[in-house]
């Protein structure tokens, strides 16, 4: 998912930066608002950021004989809605671009758009749709976390195909070529990440029940007495 430094033509780099910037700014405001209005959220917010920090640092082997990174953006998107992850994900990418020569400053916009915008939104949508279809929390978490991962890499493939369309078959050919590198490798990783998300939520449903109820992830166990504390 990390398009390396200098590997997108300048126009594309600028375009994706402009596309990602409003999401990141909006995300920063969402984080500030969340912390200000619900100071009790800070812990879980930290956990969501930490989850993506760990997972995006790990390279995992896949059935294709290559390895790739999970993303870890799903749980935060499910808990706090996607805008929050636009900021947290970009912070992770910035850390990797500056200290690890992984990704880059010129490609930060494109990478943030894939990793911190499209991934979280897709994961959140998958989570909501799965729950709306009547599934329980855990299947929905699995779907959301796994698809946040997969969608990130599909977006990267699309970005690369836009910049480097295939000489003969154009955009579609380029997309298929880059999907061939990323998507197949990513499928087992996405499944593994989905399972890790389920493990995380199993811990949270037991230990962070009040927070999950307030965030609307769990229904309150008992009906709240009307006229209680505002």
């Amino acid at each position: 998912m990390h398009i390396a430094e200098g590997f997108l033509p300048a126009g594309h780099a600028a375009g994706w930066t402009i596309a990602a910037a409003p999401f990141v700014v909006h995300g920063a405001r969402a984080v500030v608002r969340e912390v200000r209005e619900n100071p009790g959220s800070t812990l879980l917010l930290g956990a969501a950021g930490a989850f993506t920090f760990v997972l995006s640092a790990v390279k995992l082997p896949s059935v294709t004989g290559s390895s790739s990174h999970p993303t870890g953006t799903g749980p935060g998107a499910i808990l706090f809605r996607p805008p929050v992850m636009a900021l947290l994900g970009t912070v992770v990418l910035l850390f990797q671009a500056l200290l690890l020569a992984h990704g880059g400053l010129t490609t930060l916009g494109a990478n943030a758009f894939a990793f911190a915008v499209v991934g979280p939104w897709t994961g959140y949508a998958a989570y909501r749709l799965t729950r709306a279809a009547g599934a329980g929390l855990m299947p929905a978490v699995f779907a959301g976390v796994a698809l946040a991962d997969l969608a990130t890499y599909v977006t990267t493939s699309f970005q690369l195909a836009l910049a480097f369309p295939d000489a003969e078959s154009g955009l579609v050919g380029g997309l298929l070529k880059f999907l061939g590198v990323f998507a197949v490798t990513q499928i087992p990783l996405a499944i593994g990440e989905g399972l890790l998300g389920v493990l995380l939520f199993r811990v949270l449903t037991v230990n962070a029940r009040p927070e999950l109820e307030r965030l609307g992830v769990l229904k309150p166990a008992e009906p709240v007495t009307p006229g209680g504390a505002a």
């Binding site: 430094e5 920090f53 004989g65 290559s66 020569a101 399972l195 962070a208 008992e222």
Partner: protein, 102 residues
């Protein structure tokens, strides 16, 4: 072993298997190179020259150390929060007795 513990153990096992199986099946023939690097190599082979260099490129060993540091910071923070939440639950008696299992 409770059903909950069993499910947790099976989930962990599934995650480990998911990443161990490719290594075992492969039998040491693949390099397991990163997909990110595969793409840049392909583009460079096609004649593309990156127009900007990383501001700071750590040497290989330093880089893996920094990756480990990133994972350690994340895992440390995650473990701190989960431990704190668990401690909060187990140290304070449940505010409403029997909540959630009426």
């Amino acid at each position: 072993m409770t059903r909950r513990t069993l499910v947790t153990a099976l989930l962990v096992l599934a995650v480990v298997a998911l990443f161990a199986v490719p290594l075992l099946v492969d039998g040491g023939t693949s390099e397991f190179g990163g997909t990110d690097a595969a793409v840049t190599e392909e583009l460079e082979a096609d004649g593309y020259t990156p127009w900007f260099e990383s501001v700071f490129s750590p040497a290989g060993e330093v880089e893996s150390g920094l990756f480990a540091l990133q994972a350690a910071l994340g895992a440390g923070a995650l473990g701190y929060v989960l431990g704190l939440l668990r401690g909060r639950r187990t140290s304070v008696p449940a505010p409403a007795a029997g909540a959630g299992e009426r």
